[in-house]
């Protein structure tokens, strides 16, 4: 036994235990994200309970647990129907339940507002003269195309409204510019603009009446629903995003439903202060951000690294610079953020405003957070990552290869372009991917340089000049922070947070895995056996 202790076998086991613990924690994290994230869209059954006091409650059972006062089990119901009850969730003790059933015809509705509705479909109230035959479900299926056609029409009208209002805004800006530039502006030009605006305003008014009429026509298609307790609720069919009968669905139907939700998640717009609907603007914002960051940061990082490794003379200065660069990679991101705010947003942005958009002041154009400043800040943050990895990749190439190339008469630049960079490319790629993964997950510096809860427009769209770098944007990471911590109803927002988390984790893990595989491949190719 003493020998056993002296040999230190228990310590080996202790290190094994720490590794086991680390792996368990990692696994738990991933599993929690996966389980909570993947489960979000699977339609769960609608349970209806009758209580001892005669009440009936319907909803999804979210959780079952021991009652804290020890009186048995209790269920947490997601009852939906926020417009009827005011709350989304409700605890029900098992001892109060007389009957628990899963009615076949229970209906779940996803709506444009007020969250989900759970209850039954009772009848339809249609515009005069329209009568539908068949079962309620059949009627719904037949009505749907009509409703959708009208909704599309309404969307077209909405687009026209947007175009008109943009035109009017442009005229406003032009007027401002005219008035700003000269003390006594060209009166006729201003009047001309005013006249054009008046015409537009007229168009706008007629368009609005048309829109209202179309809206009224659409809202005449109403479904009459009742909740478990029998309370009626009229819901215009246009407000229904999704209609489903979860207790009546087989696995295949559920899978179709799941995929539909997934498509909506990736391509849809957010609803209900971001807690429902899709993530498209956030995904788009993240991608544009990473793209902008990449085109700034990658060339700069590679040039700096090439200079450090190939052109500078080794010495104390270069050593110092290398320490500084490694050091920069470890500076807190919030420090970069606050620098971006002072230098880019208030410094450069403020100057651009004063020079080019003085007529819009005090409303800032570039002098406020925007995607350009956020991506510049992020590229500062990632430049050290690119420098370090490129530097190491170049350093790993044996000196003999350089000498060989130079001995054959090629210039240094040719050696660099034809030999060294291609050989180092996996390492450089690793740096790029790591930088992109970091940019995708970084939130703190963005919070103060231009990310917002809900951006009214995408940074790239079909309106001249197509790329709007001054616009604010949405971001997946900030989305998590925002809906998890700043939304009015955190409990109801949790599923959305989990699914966003899952998406972000998958993206980042995928990127880093690719980086690591690349690096290992490169290591194999260029390291020469040591022992």
């Amino acid at each position: 036994m003493r020998k056993y202790l002296r040999e230190g076998e228990p310590f080996v086991w202790a290190t094994a235990a720490t590794l086991a613990l680390t792996l368990i924690i990692s696994a738990v994290l991933i599993v929690v994200v996966l389980v909570n994230g993947f489960g979000v869209f699977w339609p769960s059954k609608l349970a209806q309970v009758s209580l001892t006091d005669g009440q009936k409650v319907m909803g999804e059972i979210i959780r079952t647990e021991e009652h804290p006062d020890g009186s048995g089990l209790r269920y947490q119901f997601k009852t939906g129907n926020r417009d009827l009850y005011g709350l989304d969730f409700r605890w029900i003790s098992q001892e109060h339940v007389t009957l628990l059933e899963y009615p076949e015809d229970a209906v779940g509705l996803e709506r444009q507002e007020y969250g989900n509705f759970y209850g039954y479909l009772k009848a339809f109230s249609l515009p005069e003269g329209r009568v539908e035959a068949g079962s309620l479900k059949q009627q719904y299926v037949e009505l749907l195309p009509e409703v959708q056609r009208r909704m599309e029409h309404l969307d077209d009208l909405q687009d026209e409204v947007m175009v008109l209002s943009r035109k009017m805004q442009k005229i406003d800006l032009e007027t401002q510019e005219l008035l700003y530039e000269s003390k006594n502006p060209d009166v006729s030009a201003v009047q001309e603009l005013g006249r054009r605006e008046a015409v537009l305003k007229e168009d706008f008014a007629t368009l609005l009446t048309r829109q209202n009429k179309a809206m009224d026509g659409l809202e005449a298609f109403v479904g009459i629903f009742v909740d478990a307790a029998g309370k009626e609720k009229n819901i215009p069919l246009s407000h229904i995003v999704r209609f489903y009968e979860p207790n009546n669905m087989n696995v295949l139907e559920k899978l179709v439903f799941y995929l539909g939700k997934l498509v909506e998640l990736i391509f849809g717009e957010p609803r209900e202060s971001n807690t429902e609907g899709g993530l498209f603007p956030a995904i788009f914002g993240t991608v544009v951000l990473i793209f902008l960051m990449s085109i700034i940061s990658f060339p700069l990082g590679v040039i700096a690294a090439v200079y450090l490794r190939e052109y500078s003379k080794e010495g104390p200065v270069v050593r110092l610079v290398r320490i500084a660069v490694n050091n920069l990679a470890g500076i807190p991101s919030i420090v970069y953020g606050i620098f971006g705010l002072a230098f880019f947003v208030y410094g450069i942005g403020g100057s651009i405003d004063a020079l080019f958009f003085p007529e819009r002041l005090p409303n800032p154009t570039f002098g406020t957070g925007g995607i350009l400043w956020a991506s510049l800040t992020l590229s500062l943050l990632t430049v050290p990552v690119v420098i370090v990895s490129t530097d190491e990749a170049l350093g790993a190439i044996p000196g003999g290869i350089r000498e060989g190339s130079l001995a054959l008469g090629s210039t240094k630049f040719q050696t660099l372009m034809r030999i060294l960079l291609p050989m180092a490319s996996p390492g450089i790629m690793t740096g790029f991917i790591l930088a992109m993964a970091r940019a995708a997950g970084e939130v703190a510096p963005l919070m103060i340089t231009g990310v917002v809860k809900l951006a009214p427009a995408l940074p790239i769209d079909g309106v001249f000049p197509f790329i709007h770098l001054e616009r604010k944007f949405m971001h997946l990471g900030f989305h998590i922070f925002d809906i998890g911590f700043q939304s009015p109803n955190v409990e109801a927002a949790k599923p959305m947070v989990y699914i966003t988390t899952l998406l972000l984790v998958l993206v980042v893990l995928l990127m880093s895995s690719v980086a690591i595989v690349l690096r290992n491949r490169m290591k194999k190719r260029y390291t020469y056996g040591t022992f």
């Binding site: 056993y4 080996v12 086991w13 202790a14 290190t15 094994a16 235990a17 720490t18 086991a20 680390t22 368990i24 990692s26 929690v32 994200v33 700069l300 040039i303 200079y307 190939e310 052109y311 500078s312 050593r319 610079v321 320490i323 660069v325 050091n327 920069l328 470890g330 500076i331 807190p332 991101s333 919030i334 420090v335 606050i338 620098f339 705010l341 230098f343 430049v383 240094k412 040719q414 790591l434 997950g441 970084e442 939130v443 703190a444 919070m447 103060i448 998590i480 922070f481 998890g484 911590f485 955190v490 988390t501 972000l504 984790v505 980042v508 893990l509 895995s513 690591i516 290992n520 040591t530």
Partner: protein
Amino acid sequence: MNQNFLKKIKRNDRMARWVITAGGVSIIFSVILILFLITKVTIPLFQDPTKEVYSRTPLPEQLQGQQVLAVGVDDYFENSYLFTDRGTLAFLDAGNAEIRKLVQLSGGAQLNSVTALGNHRYALSWSDEVLSLLELDFPPFFDADGKRTIRYEVKDRTDVAPPDIDEVPMRSLLAGQPGENLTRIDLLQDGRILIGREAVETDLFGNEEQTLSSVSLEEGLGLGISALVADGQGRYLYAGTHDGKLLSWDIGDLEAVEQLDHLQAFSDRRRITALALVFGDISLAVGDEKGGVSTWFPVVGDSGKFQLKKIHVLEPHRSAVTAISPSQRDKSLLSLDEDGIAYLDHMTSERHLLSFFTDTPLRNAALSVRGHAMIAANDQGQLSLWKVDNPHPEVSFKTLFGSVWYESYPEPDRVWQSSSGSDDFEAKFSLAPLIFGTLKGTFYAMIFAIPLALGGAIYTSQFCNARFRQYIKPTVEIMAAIPSVIIGFLAALWLAPLIEDRIVSILLGVLFVPLSFVVALVIWQALRRQDFLKRFDRGYEFLMILPVVVLTAAIVTVAGPLVEQGLFGGNFQLWLYNEAGMRYDQRNSIIIAFALGFAVIPIIFTIAEDALSNVPPSLKAASLAMGASRWQTVWRVMLPSASPGIFAAIMIGLGRAIGETMIVLMATGNTPIIDMNLFNGMRPLSSNIAVEIPEAPVGGTLYRVLFLSAVILFAMTFAFNTIAEIVRQRLRVKYGRF
């Protein structure tokens, strides 16, 4: 070969060399420039305020021979004004002192004294014992041609008749608001104080009821009151005496006047010559005949009663203080002494900001409302106007890091509270609780992370089966890429409620996981005699121990509530509060230890593992060949050789933990308290920046203080990273290509 082609190649090469060199150097230096730019923003915090004479003009001819009683100026160096003893109010052009408008305020009486009440409001005391309250205004307006002119007006004037007594009061003053509770206070020759109030009350239906009440305070009888002041709301009255006593009364309700204080403020019985209330009406500024200026406010004393206490002592004058006038913007005080020198001091920071003087002594001095301008009249009636640049008077080394006695606090404290609902709030910019928060969070995180990361690294690099090793390392590296916002979210919304529910299980786990580990080892010793089990011995330990850890975790999870029921009456949080007096926050240091620790484990793990793997295998081979066991080899040979690398790993992990923002923002609760308690949260520097910078006005004190905290954060991480880098470079040199 084609000469042109060669030339072209050479030209390209030269160009590339230039571009790359210039580009490389400029990129590297521009990135390093960041530090200097951030620091530059914070520099104004520590610069001394400056003053500059804007104009110096003699008294206008029309006013020659009259004595100036009070002066005032606006913030734009446009308008100034003065009151003279003949009851003339003169509006002047601030630059050249040309008279813009003269207003005769008196109906024949002489003006005795003028008291500034702030925001261009004045109380005038006439020789016929009438007091007048008036407000001046100079609004600009534009005529049809867009020409800008200024209208000078006396907006409201309220006259208050003297009380019905035979004698002439020594001193009279006004407090309260006209139309609400205008109060006249008269100090009589014998030291009695008469208070008369005209209160107007509006009931629910909008009917106004006017009541007149008066009271006579006898406490000052025979004490020789030498200074008297009341607060703006007419709630408190303060008096100072010839022999250094301070008295105060609650006069909020005249039917129940209560004396609050009667104390010997100065043991050397110096005469109190000037009293004033600091902006916000909480602190009382006291000037004495020896030139001392101090501020006082009520603090709970030994007897359990509120008593005035000397809190701040400001720069002393060389002669008796004659007047103190508070700034209308912050907690600054302008005090004037008998030699005619004015001092501008800030109460909270106790900084002496500026001194103002001219060839002849100053007699009247006033700051503009926002403190950008300072005007004074001297003995000869000469008017001096200074431009004052005093952006951050409230910041000093002491307010940033030391303990400061803030208004209404029971004792000096280090507090961060940057904003509040009211304008007269005393901003509290102590970085101490934030730095403490950063260190506390980092400390707990490192306690959790270092053993796990180093143990894991040692095992992976030295003992683990090579087949597993090639998967474990990339897995941990990938963990490093998980965005901190996700870790923070899980910690705050998933882990924190879970731990709150099962806190006893966590505490049990700390005890039982090592215990079960020992038990498992003993059992294993018995089992491994079996040959077929021996195969799993070396290199598979972590797989063998995995079920033990999981099992123990499961057991403590189940056992936790039972133990809680048995030992802590079913509610640990309540027990903790009742027995130890500790509050349990849901987002506490345990959560931070887990979350922040988890964020730095992969970083420490990777670097430490690299360092261990890079130790030349020959060392290991030699040690094993000499008969050392595998642990002895690791402990005596490998670890010492790799120790610089391991040290660097810890330093870099530390740097990361200090700067991490999102995790602490989401999972700490963000309470800026100094308390090492495991069950409380904290507010670190980084999340403080993220929380407050969106609301900080550019160029303001808060903005610059936040930049200062970024510099501190930068300096901390820079120090740790630089140490790590230097150590690593040494290591690289030592082991050459390995």
